[in-house]
């Protein structure tokens, strides 16, 4: 019984871990690298039209896809840690200026 409850709690915790904004961002990196952008954009439009609650479904779906594609937790973790650090080297520089507003709910900042 205790083991079953612990397993359940663990799966819930894993679920929450997957849908935090920071993790979603990393998942997006991975998906964008793996999936053709036209398919990705079409999926995004469908879920966008369906409303905010469906975003979570969308991210669950793409995360499952990516985990299947990548095939190993090790690769997944490595991808996360490398994307976390945007390098400060002698590469060419982009100074990128933000817009006026960002939408709190939804995807399309203004």
């Amino acid at each position: 019984m205790a083991t079953a409850v612990a397993r359940k709690l663990k799966s819930v915790a894993c679920g929450l871990w997957l849908v935090t904004p920071r993790k979603i961002r990393y998942l997006e990196y991975l998906i964008n690298d793996a999936m053709p952008s036209k398919i990705l954009n079409s999926m995004k439009q469908i879920f966008y039209a369906a409303g905010s609650p469906f975003f979570i479904g969308y991210w669950w779906m793409i995360s499952s896809f990516k985990l299947l594609t990548v095939g190993s937790k090790k690769t997944f973790v490595r991808a996360m840690s490398t994307t976390d650090t945007i390098s400060r080297s002698s590469k060419p520089l982009i100074v990128f200026c933000h817009g006026q507003m960002t939408q709190v709910q939804g995807f399309n900042p203004g």
Partner: protein, 235 residues
Amino acid sequence: MSWSDDTGPGVQSWIESIVPYTELQQWDWIFPSAEPIPYQLNGGMISSIWYDRVGGFDPSYPEQTVTVEQSTDRLLALLDDQIQNKGRDPRQMIIAGFSMGGAIAYQTAARWHARPNAVPLGGVGGLSCYLNRDSKLWSILKNTPETVSWPQTFIAHGADDDFILPEWGIATFERLVKAGVPASFRLIPNAHHEMVAEEMVEFLHLMKDSIVAELEVENEKGIAPSHVSASSSEF
């Protein structure tokens, strides 16, 4: 739907979420934040904006040039700091932005290239943005010495943008081209007021090509990068 001010870290998260990692890694990025100022369109509330607007969004409203120049001064100082203290070559520096950030990128680039003996930047990018019809930028462009050439400028706009209308972006693009700016325009199908992976990747590729071309031209001329004097700025 609710809204909040965007900032450098905000747009950084957004870009990191849509640009493939392999593309992101090829660049150094700086995401400056605008100095919070009163915003007349929002009842004078202090907002993280690059310049004030009065009347509305339509390009026919007068530009609030004083606030534009407070931001361009800071961004020019940031670019100068990269040259003086980080040893960067201007020809390997891009200034770009989204929406109001795109407009301030144009404004900064105009003032950069209007400096005497300015070494051109590597490229300019304006995503989903526009300039007011009476913008001071137009007169700056007119007075920019012919010897200073603007770098390649990438402009894109969502075809379904109902916040900053595509026709405003197209009108700005056409006027920039008429003024001699080597710009390309891309209308992004099915995109609202947003950045999408497709346009960002295209932007990065064009900028890379532009940097290579700039360096080749300048090397043929035997021009060394000049260091512009100005104070550094914290963002």
